[in-house]
Subunit: 339 residues, 3 copies
């Protein structure tokens, strides 16, 4: 069964084939109704604008149907633990909920953000794995604790398009940014691995205390080693941006968030200068600015950057649609558009 | 106009025809687009997972469109009483709300759970009848105070499939179960009548104080009399399960819930041993376990039963989809799949 | 780009063409799938029953897909101001939110009710214009602070049908009505301009303090002058209804609501006799009763009027569907039904 938990669990030819399929979908006809009569349930345990709408339109363009399901809004809350005695507020176990959706739908998408309170459960994707285990149809991860494969594919296709199909060797800067809230690491993890897998020279700019998880860094270094590139880390955002081809901004919570949330909050709030400004962009090699959205203007990045031609964040968001068309045809083993 | 308030209001040939149509839909092709361009509004005054999603997919498979509407979530609250001076919080009368939906949709589904506070209004289905009166298109009951005809049809088709088309004479045990909350009787009422109408030997196992409504029992006895079968009642769950072909578990509120809710709550909470265990299933005639879902694991039934081959609750849930395809084609007088 | 902010911004031939298209859609076939594969996002910052469902069904009938989006319900809240430092609770700027939807959808609908606290922002449609500026696809106003063009077109088509295609010269009475809440003026503004543009003799009946905005009255007088008709105003509801062909009831907030809300509330609540009664209708010229809905029974209008043959409010609501089909084909420059 073709689950999409994350790309690093799948071979290079699948990853590369999906980038190509997303690029073809971008220039293909609006309708490619190879999935007529199929349906996908989109289960959102967390908010969504882009993911829900782009997946819904991707389904429509394939002739399929998408149903958003928001647990707790017009549905029951779910129990997750094996063996639990369900005498509390949860009326249904995830085993039955997902089992039933598997009988009605041909695939299930699920969004399950990081807890930011239980590091092991987040790193192990405990809830996501319980969800997948209960499914009898392919499951696509719509952002879990550590991964956001739909975003990763859209990012890779956007970057590939930007560099005329040859992103290898370009300088990709993933920069941490200030933010009023502690955010999960799924997007930076995924963007890092996408860039590394594209053979880009990667620099991660982040303050002390904001290193990404060692397990993720190990994957990135393995990709780099196989491609003869490097993954550098620095706490100097200005130096990192120097000569960059892509500046990819994102805030995420530091490691302290799990143990001493108040301390992480105080540290993060002191780092207001971690903002992408026109000055930062001026030192790039006519670099492009990317962000997964939603983005906080004048906190993460200045208006003057977002409203300049260097910003390709809307094209990046548009690629979510094409990426997800490519994911659905792969999950269902259907022909891609434009072949 | 082909409303579906409940099956006991419709002749045997309609009921039997729908069971057949559901069975055919189960083995039919995914798409049977005889209702292209039609639409159904699904008005949920209460939560739903299965009903909403299975009805939405049933519509898709027929080429139709379903719109879930959740009063109070992005819509107004409704007034129900005739002659009311609408100076309070309700902005629209059900007469106009349903009248308008009748102009846009070819059918309307409605979920209106029991109040559990006004026995006469629940038994008389007062709100449902007001809703239907305001409609100019067929209305399908998606679970009302006393009836759940979509569930009843799915149950009947599941049981018919289980016994190779010959459920008559098999032993059907409807057993009450412990539950932390007082629940309506729509499902046990409907399951009881479905089994009786299939010509099964029915035993209802329930503690003292948990008898079903006399009006419902009268219907069941009438079906049994016409089929030469019996409806037995007992407060001994173990004895009831002995030799059972189907054990159908469900919790529901006792009669005291209307008059002295606290007393019903205390009584119900004392009945923790009313739980379907492997021991109970061991004394059946290789019986199947059924439940309408959502089910509380290890409260209503043990994991060891739900996770065993005897449990057919997911197949039962799957039949919701096929049953509702059969209901829609009947309501709209369209050809069934597989004919 | 064919935005529909309001009809008074568009030439007569577009307005008249859409009335004709709505009338043709009313008698046309259910399906007219000229927009297959297209999609429209419907962004509701306020509640909706008719608008959401009728737009969804209109899309279905054209072969298109509609996605309702409710900001704050499963999505982020949005920032609206240019140059804002987004350190607060809003996670996304309207610029990005609408920009992204423009990449997935072929049109965007938006509902943005009046604030009733900032008169200039309401009159200038500040938020609506920010929304439109961020869009790269046609935007249709689903009711803004001052305008409700979908309702206006449905009203015009209903009236045109009522008078066999010749509404010019008929007496149209727009009457204010009592209501427990202060309501925006979008509907009375739109109904007034629709009737004036149809060449009807218009009388506005409203208490002192409930004059419509001078900018709206100026538009109405300009239409009347061009058509040789008049726009009269009176505080005598009974006299206004005398000889009326249409009595169009609607409550709206008085001018005081912006400056002294409590005083407006007290004044409005004293005006309980501003209710359309059978007596009022008896003095009409077999006049029809109209209301945009939702309507508060026995507050705005008596049951005896709403339940009489004179009431055409459900036909009026039905025309929302046909009007919106006509709007979508125009926005997308597609052939109308029945041509």
């Amino acid at each position: 069964m073709r689950h999409l938990i994350d790309w690093h669990l799948l071979p290079d030819e699948v990853w590369e084939g999906r980038i190509e399929a997303a690029l073809r979908a971008a220039s293909g006809p609006r309708m490619h109704p190879v999935a007529a009569g199929r349906a996908i349930a989109l289960v959102f345990f967390n908010s969504s604008l882009r993911t829900r709408t782009s997946m819904e339109v991707a389904a429509v363009r394939l002739g399929a149907h998408a149903t958003p399901v928001t647990p707790g809004q017009g549905t029951w809350g779910f129990a997750w633990q094996d063996g639990v005695v369900m005498g509390g507020s949860e009326a249904e176990h995830i085993h039955e909920a997902v089992g039933v959706l598997s009988r009605y739908y041909d695939a299930i998408g699920v969004r399950l953000f990081a807890s930011l309170t239980d590091r092991e459960a987040d790193r192990d994707e405990t809830k996501l794995h319980r969800f997948v285990r209960a499914a009898d149809v392919p499951v696509v991860n719509l952002e879990s604790a550590f991964w956001h494969p739909c975003q990763a594919l859209a990012d890779a296709a956007t970057i590939t398009e930007r560099f005329g199909g040859n992103p290898a060797g370009k300088k990709f800067v993933l920069t941490w940014a200030h933010h009023p809230k502690a955010l999960p690491q799924a997007v930076p993890n995924s963007a890092l691995l996408a860039a590394a897998r594209l053979g880009m020279q990667v620099t991660i700019a982040r303050p002390e205390g904001y290193q990404l998880d060692p397990s993720v860094m190990a994957h990135a270094h393995a990709y780099a080693a196989a491609r003869g590139t490097t993954i550098e880390e620095t706490d100097d955002q200005a130096a990192a941006c120097d000569g960059a081809d892509i500046v990819y901004a994102k805030s995420w919570a530091g490691a302290l968030a799990y143990e001493v949330p108040d301390a992480e909050d105080a540290l993060r709030k002191s780092l207001v200068h971690w903002r992408v400004t026109p000055d930062r962009m001026a030192s790039t090699r006519e670099g492009a600015f990317m962000h997964c959205l939603p983005v906080r203007r004048n906190v993460v990045v200045d208006d003057a950057v977002l409203d300049s031609p260097a910003a390709i964040h809307l094209r990046q968001a548009e690629y979510r649609l094409y990426a997800q068309q490519a994911i659905l045809t792969w999950m269902w083993d259907l022909p891609d558009a434009g072949r």
